[in-house]
Amino acid sequence: MAFGIEAEKEVIMKANKKDVLTGSYYIDGDVAAAYGAIAAGCKFVGGYPITPSTEAFEAFVHRAPYVGGITIQMEDELGSIASILGAVWSGKKAMTITSGPGFSLMMENIGLGAMLETPFVLLNVQRSGPSTGLPTQAGQADMMQSRWGANGDYEIIAISPDSPQEMFDYTIKAFNLSEKYRCPVMIMADECVGHMTEKVVVPEADKINIEPRRFYKGPKEKYLPFKPDKDLVPPMAKAGDGYKLHISGLTHDEKGYPTFSQTPDTKRLVDKIRLNADKIIELNEDEIDDADVVVVSYGITSRVAIRGIEQARAKGLKVGNLRLVTVWPFPEKRIAELSKKVKAFVVPEINYGQIVYEVERCAHGNANVVLVPHGGGFVHNPEDIFKAIKYAAQEKKKVEGIIEHKTELYRLIHEKNS
């Protein structure tokens, strides 16, 4: 059909000058994320402040009135996320900000967001869990929840920044991705990045690319809210423009009307991300080509891991570094490709094993997968990562399943002693 074609053209839009505070700042990651959101054109935040993400909410509330935005502190996180979905449908770019316990409350409406193909950004500054956990300490244990939290089948995009500068840059990227694919995009930061203060350079407005919302441009009476373009993403209309929208969380057809069986639209929720995965995924690779061991990490851990990697390289080990900037969708192809070349993957993360399962799945038994777990509350000791790399490089036999590094060390010690 003709209507979508316009939307497929590359529209290059730049950030609004008023929204961008060009200059160098010494701010923490939370504040940087709020600045990034404003630069991306976000005009609405509905939130419920929760440590360690409060600074982001506060910074947004402070800046919003100057850029024509509005904010509301909702009664709880159930309300926060529902409110941003509403704001998006009335035409605003919107974000909500939270941490662990709030993230749990938001799950049902993440599902609704995915179902209604609502573009929004969710900043989760992860604390250590479960439950209330350690409110002021770092964790990375919400990674699987971000992917699978709500009921039913859907796909989301998740980005994991590792510094305040990246909190700024990737918040903008998150908004762009969410507009492009009309799906929830999560910024899975952690307390360490959120509270860390570093230099953040805010570029000039015309250096910031903005993905405009894909508004439908054809004749009103022919609009079908869930009829996709060629890239599987439908153009959007907003409430109050006379489109007679029928937008429902029930499984629906192209018109948005409830159906009593699964429709192609349900599959599209998954396909629009899976089939575009190569365009979405961003990885940082370093010395990976002749590596024996590849360290796979994300967020703050990817910074800390470099210390361990450097230590190992100094000892002559061939170690590659694969940093996941986008964690979801998972870079399945790349890991599968590498698994044929390397001896082992080492996966440090601030949890007792989440992304490591994905690495193991994609390694197809071709390479060992060594987990360097951390219970949360702090970041890894680089020494632990170094030890795991050393162990992974030595181990000759293929081991089934995930090798948890510390446990394995204890086993080796006990075998030696007995």
Partner: protein, 183 residues
């Protein structure tokens, strides 16, 4: 790679401007001296009164590990903070402390010691609250990790405009006192 990273800890009790010191020095280094700095402050129960501290890493390269493991420089403005963080100081580290507020215990290793009556100086200048600025001047003079120019550009960004002059005076007072000591 990261060999040039200097690990600094500012320690005192809540209300002395310890966190603020970390931000001012960090900003001076990152924005005006073109170095890499990472500042982390204590959150949680630690931040609510009692000993309080902020950690600052200064380096010529990108900083990877964002926390202080063993401090090269420890700045102490309270006895409790001294007792808590002194063991973390490297054997050849540098300890700067407030002469009136910290009683040293036995000296350890090759730790170098410098002291200044920062709170007394601040009171003489009319504001007890700027003791941390005196201490920053002293720190700048002794350690030379951050340049004086950078510090003088960074301080006004963190204080209300009517107090800028007072703060810069306080900084100079600490700086000159420090320079006289190491001359």
């Amino acid at each position: 790679m990261n060999k040039k990273t200097v690990e600094i800890r500012f320690a005192g009790y809540g209300g002395q401007g310890i966190i603020r010191s970390g931000i001012i020095v960090g900003r001076a280094g990152a924005i005006y001296d073109d170095k890499f700095t990472t500042m982390n402050q204590a959150f949680g129960p630690e931040a609510r009164g009692g000993a309080c501290s902020s950690q600052l890493l200064v380096s010529d390269d990108k900083i990877l590990y964002p926390y202080v493991a063993k401090s090269d420089i420890l700045i102490c403005m309270a006895q409790e903070a001294y007792e808590k963080f002194e063991p973390e100081l490297k054997n050849d580290g540098l300890l700067l402390y407030d002469l009136d507020l910290v009683n040293l215990k036995n000296k350890r290793g090759k730790v170098k010691l410098y002291s200044i009556p920062s709170t007394r100086f601040a009171e003489e200048l009319g504001q007890k609250i700027i003791a941390n600025v005196v201490m920053m001047g002293f720190f700048t003079a002794i350690t030379e990790v951050i340049s004086v120019d950078a510090m003088k550009k960074s301080i006004p960004e963190s204080v209300p405009s009517r107090f800028v002059e007072l703060n810069l005076n306080a900084f100079d007072k600490g700086y000159n006192y420090g320079k006289n000591l190491v001359k």
